[in-house]
């Protein structure tokens, strides 16, 4: 968050209460103020696709406000009519008629003369898993498979801890280089990747998923991703060639244990 930008906008908006501009100016100032907050007040900046959608919503809301009352519509219409027909606004009108097309022309020019950009990326972070996968020749049904060690958490905590420790070893031998010490996706190699590796501490990642999903992702890695998830942009290896089935389940236990998150459990269908 860029507090200075936000504070400046808040001060101006507060000042509007005393200036009492007409409805059209009020709506325009609010639109600009919100735009400045979204564009410069958020850090890292939000993508232009989201900025566009947000400003579309804000525009709708402001139009709704201005047109919800008959007298406000009249005020806006009177202002616009006065601007176009009143001689005292002749210079301002002339400037508007010249500057507006120039602004559009500038927008077109800057769009055409900038550096070529890669197309927008709509990458699906959590693609749907297949119904089943083949793991070293063995068919695993992802709809029904469960972590074989999860039940030990209640029935035999000591053995469970041993499996978590096994997962810890697997993690620090294989995963830490990309996913990092603290599992925030900031390992040694992370900065060489785009996009960066998954951040397991983020409550909106592994906490949303079942363990079978993680098993699929670890076992099949980037090559197993569907095209909507751009497998060519991920460096995740297919760990099925390096790790045993048991090791994958153990490292899953460790990831959840370390981040203090719980996997999504299979729900009862009614």
């Amino acid at each position: 968050m860029n507090i200075l930008v936000i504070l400046a906008v808040v001060v101006v908006m507060f000042g509007l209460r005393f200036l009492k501009p007409n409805a059209l100016a009020w709506a325009a100032i609010w639109w600009i103020g919100v735009y400045l907050v979204f564009r410069y007040g958020v850090d890292p900046p939000m993508p232009t696709s989201i900025l566009g959608m947000f400003m579309f919503i804000i525009s709708l809301v402001l139009v709704a406000y201005v047109t919800a009352a008959n007298d406000r519509i009249r005020e806006v219409a009177d202002t616009l009519i006065a601007f176009f027909v009143n001689p005292e606004y002749k210079v301002a009108l002339g400037l508007t008629l010249v500057l507006l097309p120039l602004l559009v022309a500038f927008q077109v020019y800057s769009g055409m003369s900038g550096q070529p950009q890669a197309p927008l990326l709509a990458r699906t972070i959590h693609p749907p898993p297949p119904g089943s996968i083949s793991y070293q020749g063995k068919q695993i049904d992802l709809l029904t498979v469960h972590n074989p060690f999860r039940g030990l958490e209640q029935s035999d905590p000591t053995v469970f801890e041993a499996h978590v420790a096994g997962g810890r070893a697997v993690y620090y031998q294989n995963c830490v280089y990309c996913h990092g010490d603290n599992m925030e996706g900031d390992g040694f190699f992370a900065h060489g990747f785009n996009p960066i590796p998954a951040n397991f501490q983020d409550p909106t990642t592994i906490a949303m998923l079942q363990e079978s999903y993680l098993f699929w992702r670890i076992a099949k890695g980037a090559p197993g991703l569907p095209s909507e998830s751009t497998p060519w942009l991920s460096a995740m290896p297919a760990w099925e060639t390096f790790l045993s089935e048991e090791e994958i389940w153990e490292v899953i236990l460790f990831i959840y244990d370390y981040t203090e998150q719980r996997p999504r459990v299979s729900e009862e269908v009614h």
Binding site: V42, P44, I57, Q117, A118, P129, P130, M208, Q210, E267
Partner: protein, 603 residues
Amino acid sequence: MKDLRLIKDYRQKPLPALLPVAIAILVTAFIAALVALPAAAIPQDAVANPEYRAFPVIGSRVAIWVVAQLHLMFAAFVLAVPMFAVIIEIIGMVTKDKRYDALAHEFTKLLSVSFSLTATLGALMVVMLVVLYPGVTQYMVSIFSWSFFPYILLFFLEAVFLYSYYYGWGKFSPKVHLSLGIALNIVGTAIMFIANAWLTFMNTPNGISETGALLSMADAMNNFIWMPINIHRMIANVAFGGSIAAAYGAYKYLGAKTQEEKAHYDWMGYVGNFISISALLPLPFAGYWLGKEIYAYSQSLGITLMGGTFSWLFIIQAVLIGNLFLAANYYLWVSMERIEGAERFRKFIKYLLASIAITYLVWATPHSLVATVEEARKMGGAHHPMLGVLGVMSAKNTAVNILILTTYISFLLYRRGNKEPTVSWVKAGNFAQLAIFIGAVAIVIFLGIFGYFVEAKVRIALSVPQVAVVLFTMISVTIIDIYLYRGARSRGKIKWGEMPARAQYVLFFIAVTFAWTMGLMGYVRAGMRQHWHVFGVMADTSPDAFTPTLGFASNVISVTVLIFFSFIAVVFWLTGLAGKKDWEPKEGALIPDGEHADEEVVR
């Protein structure tokens, strides 16, 4: 509004609607019987390699997609209108206010032509299924063979009850007429439940063996998402039907010549919109239940729906629903302009708008963002560290609950518009209402934030207390309000018929947005099976066995909505004909036997 001449003047001219209905029923029954014949011994190969035929130019999938969606939209309307027509009729009986009876009658006028179109489109869909997808149809018939007969019988009963309810208006005793309406609703709901069993089976099959052979038709019908879809569709139908009826009111209002007509259709538009928005409020909760059951059935289906490619369609849906809420509130605020005394509430509109804007922004924020490479690099991936948090269920649930409460406040202000409470406990009553609102918002926000710190199972379960708090708030505040404003002093009149035209266009906007949302979500529900006809059982091996791009799907849905409203325009026009005067030859014009028309009139 006291003048009922308008309604009484309408002559009941039976439109030639029974004929296409009868034809449609016969065709459907005939084809169903034809298809059912070989179903007893469906070869196993037919499940693995179903047969297909290609539809010219647009392909079989798009053809069946458009027709099915059109059939569904008309069916939704035809099922919904009797629901609220009966309720309005009951209100009229209880209050002994003839206006309600007249309004219910006016709503049912839309049914006659719509029912014919529903039946015709349904028959067309069956024909297309048999011709284009014979293998799939044969398999579905092998599973649901015996359910087609009660379906046809109920359809026939629906026609009988619908036409006797419509044409019998004022011809039977009120109780008999009301019974016809209730029977119509029961039969209509049963039809929908049967059809829902077929389509939900394709998503979450049940009652079959591993090879797809039928084990139990009852289990196949009562599959995992059958009841969630039944409930979701029933509520959505009322929301959609109410919006179409409101659009009809707006259409008639804009063409009204007299003040009485304007007053009547202004009221009709208001009631239609009230019904629509009342049904919209609980709809997200029914949707969550459906989504939860889909996820519970299959993680793969659940993630396809909410996390994979289809999640982008949910973002479009969020924008459409945000627009619906905004438009519904806007209509109420503009309506308050015609209520004397309501201007004292105008100062609250900006705060309500601020609440709508914030919740709408949260509601529409995706979890993974569309970004350029440079933007993604700055964010460190497709997740924005701040916005990504708003893209998950905890934030969405919180936003939609507050959005619903905001809409409810707008309605409360509208309701109070021209009333001045006279009871001695005004301050205490207002304070209690305010305390309930503040408490509810605090609880909803707290549970929303709490959801980030608990496991998924608990987080999903938190939506229940959130919904419960919102429902409790709406019910308790309404009860307090009823007593608070009992015997209230009037501050002025509601000037029915003095609505600006823009409010009527908002009603059109709401109807179109509902239709668009239905088309979008209908595609999502069917499309999430991806390359399966019956998920996990019968693979789609046709040339269309791929998921179309989001842009293509959106275009097909938009064209379907356009076709639907072209049909609806015809429905409105035909319905309006019933109220027109009889044709008479122009004065001085020649009539066929060579005599002048005016002479004919004299004679």
